[in-house]
Amino acid sequence: MKITADTPPVLSVLDRPNSYIGRAVPRPNLQRLTQGRGQYISDVTLPRMAHVAYLRSPHAHARIVSIATDAAKKAPGVVAVVTGAELAKVMTPWVGVLTHLKGIKSAPQAPIAVDRACWQGEAVCAVVARTRAQAEDACELIDIVYEELPAVTNPETALDPGTPVIHESLGDNLCFERKLDVGEVDKAFANSDAVVEATFVTGRHTGVCTEGRAVVADWNASEQRMTVYHATQAPHMMQNLFAKHLALSESQVRVLTKDVGGSFGIKVHTYADEMATVALSKLLKRPVKFVADRIESFVTDIHARDHRIKAKIGVTKDGVITAFEIDDLTGIGPYSVYPRTSGIEANQVINLTGGPYNCPNYRAQARVVFQNKNVMCQYRAVGHPIAVAVTEGLVELAAAKIGMDPLEIRRRNLFADDGYPAQTASGLKLEQLSHHEALAHLDAMINYAGLRAEQKALRDKGIYRGIGFASFIEVTNPSAAFYGVGGAKITSQDGATVKLDAQGAITIHSGVTEQGQGAEAVLAQCVASSFGVSMDRVRVVTGDTDNTPYGGGTWASRAAGIGGEAAWQAGKALRGNVLAVAGAMLQAKPEDLDIRNSIVVDKTTGAERLGLDELARVAYFRPDTLPPGFQAELMVTRHYVPRAWPFAFTNGIQASYLEVDTDTGFVKLLRHWCVEDCGTIINPQLVNEQIRGGVVQGIGAALFEQCLYDERGQMLNGNMADYLVPMAVEMPDIDCGHVVSPTADSELGAKGAGEAGTAGAPACIMNAINDALRPLNAQPLTDMPFTPGKILRALGKV
């Protein structure tokens, strides 16, 4: 893959003499990870630690008649064999609902199934043994008698009267429903020159992390304290949940999260097997480790994106979009996932559809129904790829119908760059976006006119290439509006503590977490810049609820925008405190001094006055020499939470250039571009890596990835050979471009960049394929992933 990108935009007003803002500096944790000294959960070994393996239901829906564990209990190395009923005495069940999703309902979920297994892969019994291999051996000796129950596996019929209800107590299979009707939709369609309807399908898929889910729980009975080493995105959220369901106080639970091998939203949920592992440690009073293997990951890591959307757009012959209408149906698992719920994704589809466009007429319905399949919940760019596919698919189909260029129709409808603040039809408040500037940038970057000319020339030779676009908006930097208002103990605030040590170096403790995305680099850059030291003088500590400020962690593209701002402010505050010490030592006014490159200098002349090492020596060891009553404060904490806007929306536009082999239905990706606006860019290399990685996951959705289930609820391709994650060879060069519209809600002005790539890529690929096949009068392809078979069928070849 060739890496090309824009030159970083000019440095912002935040630029200070030794600023790292806007620079591609190496990550501080790079050497640790590349030299194999990362500390992942698999690296954690504790005295008396045992390993748990879960026996999982082979049925999608079955009553557990009996469990015979005697033989397993006698197997070599076995410490305990524990059933759901036994573990229910240790840990209380949970219900994945939020009050701001009106009417959402779900059934209580236990750490291990008690009487009934509701999806293939649900844990039904635990074996704890000295090694994982012994635990797996003993699992084979457990005899469970099941009575198979009918499985609900088709969302289209889930609400029919004849379909069995998965949880009788809920009355039906409806988890959540939302309706929205804004403006005058019927009138707008009636006054349109063209109306296009299509049904979009986004395939159920999952985020395949390099490191599987993993946890080591260590109940210390002497301290009455639970320490959980956990590959999670949100340590404080998990601290709250472990405490709540073990009937402990939060002060009795410590969650430690060191290195995490990718998460993508997969590791921000409550997993029954992880909760069970923590409960087992309490029950057995010893450390217990659980590391999900690939096979169980595919049937337990949350799935996402399984939606069918009937959609409609109206346009005038001048290309003005008159109305959008969607009807979304999504089949989740048998439970709404705790605590973020499985209703958020559909809710986001309603919120985001039509998002880039100034169109006041919008009607939407979404229904979320239970299924006897693995659970679904939030995966990178929650709801965005679906909403963007629907919106951008409709826009390009409408453009084709009225014979308008796909970029031109966007120019005529995108919110004007000078028209902010603005509000979408669905009610999203937009502070400042740059759709038109991004589009113009992309137009030039891809040499659009040249590409069209090449496309035309090749079509005459029987080569079918397509150009597709996707404009998008992305939710980042969420305020309490996302979860807090719904009653979940998930903070939208984050904090940073910075400390000057006795040799003048800086340590940062932050509430956000490092998942491999480079959050620690961003935090170090912010503090090094606002305080005034070089990066090598900064050490970052994350992921320890005993020692880091209370924070939300990493999700919804919040680590840089929120965690970064807290770190920036903490660095600034510490600089003030240090300059107060310097002022006292130098008998100067602190406001006449500054810190540059680890040295206190005269602010105007830059003349060196005092090294930080000397300052720290005096402050820590000879405070007696400082003026009476003066106390040096060389450790400060600052918090930040977005208040002015519910979310800091970002925007952008992607383009795909590809070739369809019309004989085989194979798609060759030739090139991909993304121009995005994430506000202030702290580290252009990390932003571009986020965009590229996100695009690749979006390409996975469009062409490769799908969790295939049969009508009995059996997952058919739950392994790395049959579930196709996108691989390097098939990926095109991905070029990144940037527009910068900082948010005024923070001093840093940074918005999130983690999900833009994933949000736009699937729509972009879809539109490019349809563009390629348009001269062949193929049926538009709207059913992801676009396999060779589907393309051949659209071409009428099979």
């Binding site: 690939r294 490769f704 060879v729």
Partner: protein, 283 residues
């Protein structure tokens, strides 16, 4: 993903391995392990004994041997894919193997996997069994009754089932060496490089004036074994590509990547592409 317990023996001779296979009927031979280890870890198989033949000497050669016509290329069963990939002998005298090799899995797999293991395992979607069939090669096997040679046409019996007896060990693969009249063709369609193909086709023929004779088309990924398309071979020998496609009598089953109908369509597309390769005149 931990294998069930098994015993392990590293053998010093083929005779020892053959004897152990006799003593322990569910024993499995461990060569490159690229298929076996995955099935063990997923507990899809649980042999009580693994017989490691990796230490046996003299089984990893690649050599040109004299014989009928231009002779043979003999490949020892323990030759790794990477050896074949880099072998000048293979490049010159077994160009079909050379063409297929970069498409067998990924470099890490080719570093460990053996040609003998691939042929012995006989995955119907794998490249090498189809190449063996297309080239009309043969394999050597050693068992309790001594050595024997099995022609490719007699070797593939069913899904992962071959003519090898329970105590027999494949020791070498022998392919006719290519000469100036040898024509080969190879194509496969996989959604990701290195995956098992949805459909693949390995082919060989001999130039006959401006036409072809002895056309052998061996499809993979379309049945329980690599499959010859004999009616199409005859049409192709007459230079009739359309006829060859029309004569394809494959009946592939649906699988996770494609329906039988898609596979059949793609088999026809591959036939046209491979026919063009076969008909290309060498300088």
């Amino acid at each position: 993903m931990k294998p069930a317990p098994f015993a392990y023996r590293k053998v010093r001779s083929l005779d020892e391995a053959v004897a152990l296979l006799g003593e322990t009927p569910d024993a499995r031979l461990l060569a490159g392990g690229q298929s076996l280890m995955a099935t063990l870890n997923m507990r899809l198989s649980a042999p009580s004994l693994l017989i490691d033949i990796n230490g046996l000497s003299g089984l990893d050669g690649i050599a040109h041997k004299n014989g009928q016509g231009s002779g043979f290329v003999e490949i020892g069963a323990l030759a790794r894919h990477v050896q074949a990939e880099r072998s000048a002998t293979i490049a010159k005298l077994a160009p079909l193997i050379a063409r297929a090799m970069p498409l067998v899995g990924h470099p890490a797999i080719r570093n460990r996997g053996t040609l003998g293991g691939s042929i012995a395992f006989a995955d119907p979607a794998a490249e090498l069994p189809a190449c063996l069939l297309a080239l009309d090669g043969e394999v050597d096997a050693q068992g309790p009754k001594g050595k024997r040679t099995i022609k490719a046409g007699d070797y593939f019996k069913g899904l992962y089932e071959t003519a090898l007896g329970p105590q027999e060990i494949l020791t070498a693969i022998r392919l006719p060496a290519a000469d100036s009249n040898t024509r080969i063709g190879f194509a496969e369609l996989a959604r990701r490089h290195g995956d098992y193909a949805i459909v693949g086709l390995a082919a060989s023929a001999r130039a006959d004036g401006k036409g072809l004779k002895d056309v052998r088309l061996a499809y993979f990924g379309v049945g329980n074994t690599p499959l010859r398309a004999e009616k199409s071979e005859a049409a192709l020998a007459h230079g009739d590509v359309d006829g060859a496609v029309a004569a394809l009598d494959l009946d592939p089953h649906d699988d996770i990547q494609a329906t039988g109908a898609v596979k059949k369509h793609l088999a026809g597309v591959l036939l046209r592409r491979v026919a063009a390769q076969l008909m290309e005149q060498r300088p």
